[in-house]
């Protein structure tokens, strides 16, 4: 188990969920969360590799980790403000 796996506030398993999709689920979690919370999102959607970093850059939240787990990608994002 990596350090981030023990530290995440919540894991969102959005694999295979085309609609509303992994990024919207992450935005929802960040809206509900507290500053400093970390969220792991599991996504099998190829678009997430560009969409999630693009939103985090625009909304100024921190990407802690992006891990290709084979078949899906695990994004860990920290709510920065």
């Amino acid at each position: 188990m990596t350090l981030t796996e023990t530290a995440v506030t919540k894991t969102i398993d959005a694999r295979g969920m085309a609609c509303p999709g992994p990024l919207l689920a992450l935005i929802g979690a960040i809206r509900q969360g507290h500053v400093g919370d970390t969220f792991a999102v599991l996504s099998s959607d190829a678009g997430s590799k560009t969409d999630i970093p693009a939103w985090c850059a625009k909304a100024k939240h921190e990407i802690v980790e992006v891990v290709d787990e084979g078949g899906f990608v695990r994004f860990v994002v920290r709510k920065a403000h």
Partner: protein, 377 residues
């Protein structure tokens, strides 16, 4: 002694699950639906009411008329669930005991969560749709913004449908030249599903509908007529239409059965509560990051019913939920497309056509005599 199945919520999921359970279990169970209003509302119709295309009376029926004869209906609010004693407390002091409990409690709108929400409009409730209809009837032209003020929200295609149908509505009334229509998208594209987005974007371009991306509404300044986003941008409006923030039902929160948004922690395949195996959830009530829509509830209800029937009969469950959702997406001009997908298969939407528009229209009309009774698989 027959098993006691209690279902909280008389929406599409609760009603269908109740009817299927009663049909499958017969005398082996008592099936009781608890609903605070006793009225079944066809929520996809709000969009048409707001845009003056349907009469509001079409949207509501007495829940009793949709349930099989042997399903009991209790018209009361459930106030608290106690999984340790397997009881549900009711608002007027009574309680119900259960062997299996189905949470079909839907979602509730929490407009107050957005500072300044009061001035804006929505088509997510009866009252909201009627108020917006009146506002649009008075509208003489100006800047219209349509945005999303909370995630998750019911029916992800609805804001896109609204914007394209609004464009058509304004053209018919001769107001389109005097107005701008802009969708504030929470994502970096017009719609959540990329393949559908590629179909819809050219329609936005052709109709001159504006798009602001990565705009998640955070607050409204009613004095300045501006709306601000989580991402730090601000836009001006004359008429603001927002998808209100949603939360899980009050009874879920007061019973400590939900997450921070009031959504029920639910297994994505078995639809059982992650901590209480005798409690199952479906539709909007779950925490699954999947569409909150009647379609989702419609596909989940047979799984919930079948699994409970297996538990009652002491047999191994034969079905699991595979993430099935099917919905229509109106694209304006009397055309629509459709989205069908599951956990393993992403949607491949067909080109928008009149056929899908009529299919949606026919579905809306046939709803009352097909879906709650389980006549459409």
């Amino acid at each position: 002694m027959p098993a006691r199945v209690v279902i909280l919520g008389g929406g599409v999921g609760g009603t269908l699950a109740a009817n299927l359970l009663q049909k499958e279990l017969g005398g082996d169970a008592t099936v009781t639906v608890v609903d605070g209003t006793g009225m079944h509302i066809y929520q996809p119709g709000f969009l048409y009411v707001a845009l003056d295309q349907a009469n509001a009376l079409w949207l509501a029926r007495d829940e009793r008329t949709l349930l099989r004869k042997n399903v009991e209906l209790v018209v009361e609010h459930a106030t608290r669930i106690d999984p340790s004693t397997q009881t549900v407390a009711l608002a007027h002091g009574g309680s119900l005991s259960y062997d299996y409990l189905v949470l079909a409690t839907g979602s509730r709108l929490e407009r107050d969560a957005i500072p300044g929400y009061g001035d804006s409009h929505d088509f997510y409730s009866f009252e909201g749709a009627l108020r917006l209809r009146e506002e649009l009837r008075r509208f003489k032209g100006g800047r219209i913004l349509v945005g999303v003020a909370g995630i998750p929200y019911k029916c992800p295609p609805a804001p896109v449908e609204f914007v394209l149908m609004l464009d058509e509505y304004l053209r018919k009334r001769g107001l389109r030249e005097k107005s701008s229509v802009t969708l504030l998208s929470p994502l970096n594209r017009v719609f959540t599903i990329e393949s559908a987005s590629k179909l819809v974007q050219p329609i936005f371009d052709k109709q001159g509908v504006g798009l602001s991306t990565f705009f998640n509404v955070e607050s409204v300044d009613t004095a300045k007529h501006t709306v601000s986003s989580l991402e730090g941008e601000t836009a001006e409006y004359d008429l603001l239409v927002l998808v209100p923030p949603h939360r899980g039902a009050a009874v879920i929160e007061s019973s400590g059965l939900g997450d921070e948004g009031g959504w029920v922690p639910t297994d994505r395949n078995t639809l059982q509560h992650k901590s209480f195996e005798r409690i199952l959830a479906l539709g909007d009530a779950t925490d699954l990051p999947i569409s909150k829509s009647g379609s989702t509830a419609h596909f989940e209800a047979p799984v919930v019913a079948s699994r409970i029937a297996s538990f009652v009969h002491g047999t191994a469950p034969r079905t699991a939920y595979g993430g099935q959702v099917m919905c229509f997406l109106e694209t304006g001009g009397g055309r629509a497309t459709s989205l069908r997908f599951d956990y393993a298969h992403p949607p491949i939407p067909p080109k928008p056509s009149r056929m899908w528009h009529w299919a949606k229209w026919a579905f809306n009309r046939a709803y009352w005599v097909t879906i709650p009774q389980g006549r459409v698989g």
